[in-house]
């Protein structure tokens, strides 16, 4: 990552311009050839600095109204297997192992699940819990996004 990489990413912070040649627009803005923008972005993607290049969708606005973190207690020797298994479900978008708080909060695996109804989340969680024999979990439903200050593309329209 150098200054030019940073400048390109900064131009893309609010998303690509909705023009016929969006990367050319960015190149002109920065005064570099379009090809350099394309090569650098491709490289950033290959090296994993860009985790994904694509659309971010708001789940609640496509009907996925129930969203929850489910915290699980998994025995240490099973964390890898269970973590990888849970990660393979499309309904689960995030899956992390975390260091718990001893004798107070023993949950060490965290999954984020999206569904149309809470009932579905409860059902899926119950099924997974029974199938994998991981009885200790808590469902933490999202009530409200407290960080609504993200600027949207609309404000960046070219």
């Amino acid at each position: 990552m150098d200054k030019i990489d940073n400048a390109i990413l900064s131009e893309l912070k609010l998303g690509i311009p909705l023009t016929t040649q969006p990367f050319n627009n960015i190149a002109s803005k920065l005064g570099i050839p379009q090809n350099e923008v394309l090569v650098r972005l491709t490289k950033l993607k290959q090296t994993g600095v860009i985790r994904r290049f694509g659309a971010t969708i708001k789940p609640t606005n496509i009907g996925l109204l129930a969203n929850a973190v489910i915290a699980w207690t998994i025995p240490a020797d099973r964390v890898d297997t269970v973590g990888q298994y849970l990660a393979s479900f499309t309904e689960i978008t995030h899956c992390y192992e975390r260091i718990p708080v001893k004798n107070h909060w023993e949950y060490n695996l965290y999954t984020v699940m999206h569904a149309q109804k809470r009932q579905s989340i409860e059902q899926m969680t119950k099924t997974l819990s029974e199938t994998l024999d991981i009885p200790n979990y808590v469902i933490l439903y999202s009530k409200r996004n407290l960080k609504n200050n993200k600027t949207t593309k609309k404000e960046n329209k070219q």
Partner: protein, 172 residues
């Protein structure tokens, strides 16, 4: 990865205001966006719309607040933010907004949600090292007047998955 569906699968998403073309477009856009001179043209071959039709539809999806952004998502761990944690706070109901505002002042906060639990504020925090992370958390405790019993610090040990990619149609 991403091939399984839970056994008790939900019925297909009832997407209000979205036709099949929108669904296919959203499905395409969530995956690898073409980093090329004419990206829309490339997509247009896959979906059978003109470049302009695609752009119009995307503008409409932005207007409906379905698309939040089309662009790169950065992996913080690859740009020096090697420490990350999930933090939960136990906060009196009537102080949630005030305390959320304090937390949101920090730029290294990525998600911040009110959740239905005794620990009712949950946010994620990244830092360049453990020292900075601890400092930030102590600052937050100080500014909010909460004490150590009201906070859960759950550092990331291992990431199995992060892939926010919703399935909208099976046809593409």
């Amino acid at each position: 990865m991403d091939t399984k569906q839970a056994t008790n699968k939900e019925p297909d998403l009832q997407l209000y205001q979205l036709d099949n073309t929108d669904k296919q477009l959203l499905q395409l856009l969530q995956n690898d966006f073409p980093i090329t001179t004419h990206p829309w043209k490339e997509l247009s071959h896959k979906i059978g719309l003109s470049e302009q039709q695609i752009i119009n539809r995307i503008e409409n999806l932005y207007a409906k607040k379905i698309i939040q952004k089309i662009g790169p998502i950065i992996d913080n761990s690859k740009i020096g933010y090697t420490t990350a944690t999930l933090v939960a706070l136990r906060v009196p109901e009537n102080q949630v907004d005030t305390i959320a505002a304090i937390i949101n002042q920090y730029s290294d906060i990525s998600h911040n949600y009110e959740r239905e639990h005794e620990y009712n504020i949950w946010f994620t925090l990244v830092a360049k090292n453990t020292k900075t992370l601890t400092q930030t958390l102590n600052e937050i405790l100080q500014k909010t007047g909460l004490n150590q019993n009201d906070i859960l610090n759950l550092p990331t040990k291992q990431r199995f998955k992060i892939n926010v990619n919703f399935r909208l149609t099976d046809t593409i």
